[in-house]
Symmetry: C2
Subunit: 130 residues, 2 copies
DNA sequence: TTTATACTGAAATTAATAATCATTATTATT
DNA sequence: AATAATAATGATTATTAATTTCAGTATAAA
């Protein structure tokens, strides 16, 4: 038996929470949500499973600035917009630019696994009320 | 008088250290370097000035994963490659794709200030010794 | 239906960063 | 130059997010 091989209700609930939101929540938000379903779940278990699910490639961990990590239930690469005022992270429907990976491979000889692209600015609602 | 208005030797040394390296160092590395020149400088002062210089737009703070922040003495936008094995952060000489900002502005109505693009993989030396 | 061990909750621990505060140094004003 | 106002400092403490520990529990293989 190896790490991450057993299905537990905690693991299942955490993954479901992430797959049913597009808010790219923090570990603590996931914890609060999980408690609604499993009142005795601990924050440590949430962190443990978030790391596990990330390592298994089922979710993505996002980092913007030096704040806490955010988690994305969509494991497929896509880009994000981060509002600098309300701090919301929004999914962008842009075609992923794969040719850049190739350009770097050729130009520098690096092996490129993936890339991340994020945009920073003000979302629609935050532009209005300023 | 307002915050960040006075020139101190600590501030000058920290900025010079960052401008004379391309290693995108952590706060602690900057601290160790600064102590060679100013033995009594404190880590708190290093953090304070890094935040200040970032807010003044003279340096950039970089975040890859949930580890510690890295700092870039080049305030102009450019892209990075992060080696997942040796953790080195390398500058890339790619033309900045400004048209993407415009595309998002049009498509979503967001005001875009800037964007970040980073590539993850294995650098040349880490590809060899695996 | 026993056995091996992955996973858990609770608590303690770590690591990075920020805040506090009395003192010092810088700049503006006399 | 001397003085005054206050930004910045070093030293220390506090905060925060995240990880680790550990005895007990639950999962799944035998």
């Amino acid at each position: 038996m190896k790490l991450g091989s057993r299905t537990t209700k905690q693991k299942r609930v955490i993954l479901e929470i992430l797959q049913n939101t597009d808010t790219h929540p923090t570990a603590d938000w996931v914890y609060q949500e999980a408690r609604q379903i499993l009142p005795d779940i601990s924050l440590g278990t949430v962190y443990r499973n978030l790391n596990l699910l990330r390592d298994l490639g089922k979710i993505q961990e996002l980092n913007y600035g030096s704040g806490q990590s955010r988690y994305d239930g969509n494991p497929v690469n896509h880009y994000h917009f981060v509002c600098e005022k309300c701090k919301k992270v929004l999914d962008l429907d842009l075609s992923v630019v794969v040719d850049l990976d190739e350009e770097i491979r050729e130009k520098y000889g690096f092996q490129v696994f993936n890339h991340r692209l994020e945009f920073y600015g003000l979302c629609k609602t935050c532009q209005e009320d300023d």
